[in-house]
Assembly symmetry: C2
Homo-oligomer: 137 residues x 2
Amino acid sequence: MSKDFPGLLKEKGLKNTPTRRAILDVFSADCKPINAEYIHEKLKKSDINLVTIYRTLESFEEAGILKRVSLNKASSYYELAANHHHHLICTNCGTVEGFKECDIGDVSRKALKDSKFQTVSGHSLELFGKCKKCAKA
Amino acid sequence: MSKDFPGLLKEKGLKNTPTRRAILDVFSADCKPINAEYIHEKLKKSDINLVTIYRTLESFEEAGILKRVSLNKASSYYELAANHHHHLICTNCGTVEGFKECDIGDVSRKALKDSKFQTVSGHSLELFGKCKKCAKA
DNA sequence: CTCATAGGTGCAATATACTTGCATTTGCAT
DNA sequence: ATGCAAATGCAAGTATATTGCACCTATGAG
């Protein structure tokens, strides 16, 4: 995972501002899906407006810097897109753990076959279950 | 897909009301993920309160009658749980198409192996891409 | 280096999606 | 038939996200 945020922003045609670097830092520090509120909390010293965070998340997603993650929660969660992986989500306590295993090429190909779709460019896969702690109880 | 809604409701310990049968009818008629607003619109003749729809969706999900679908949209979408499948979602026009192919047992097993998780009880898989119509343009 | 400008940010207001409290009604077991 | 728990409607409230507008700043052209 590169941390050349100024370079990344320039490459995507986005301005290199302190606010944006700070937001990218938060993503880089916490390797888990996070939402706008979480970033706001982490950066409360810097007093960054929540509106700005929402707008930044939106433009980062458009630029392909971030990926929106489907966690079936009320608010939207994001992760760095470069760090592709999936999640195990505990249906009891909500713990989220990432995993890299991601061999869905076969499923993908079969799904396309009889569909009205031409190409598959990305996917989201989440597994729901019980973490060891909750499985005991 | 059984349409014995009274029986289904009884089995789950839920009361068999006209409102609930109407909501199940909507799910049964449209074989695609739908949200509360959509149901409200479809049932506007019956003048069912939106609050009731939200509460019904919640209790149906708890009862396992419905499954929440992750479409990365602002509102929550649901489908009949008995009808397990996944989706191809066009990143351009938003078209959603279902598919049955779903052989992720292997991925699931490998993911569990080095995790803090004990069991996997469900999953969500969405493929993003371009439908043939949008691929042309 | 300076300056113009497009893009970024903050504030206030607004919209959307959903939830809660409470009073009333209704399905259903007895 | 009837009593009660569950379901529903209404009004208000909360959480999450968006928009309009004024001001600010990074960046590239000169």
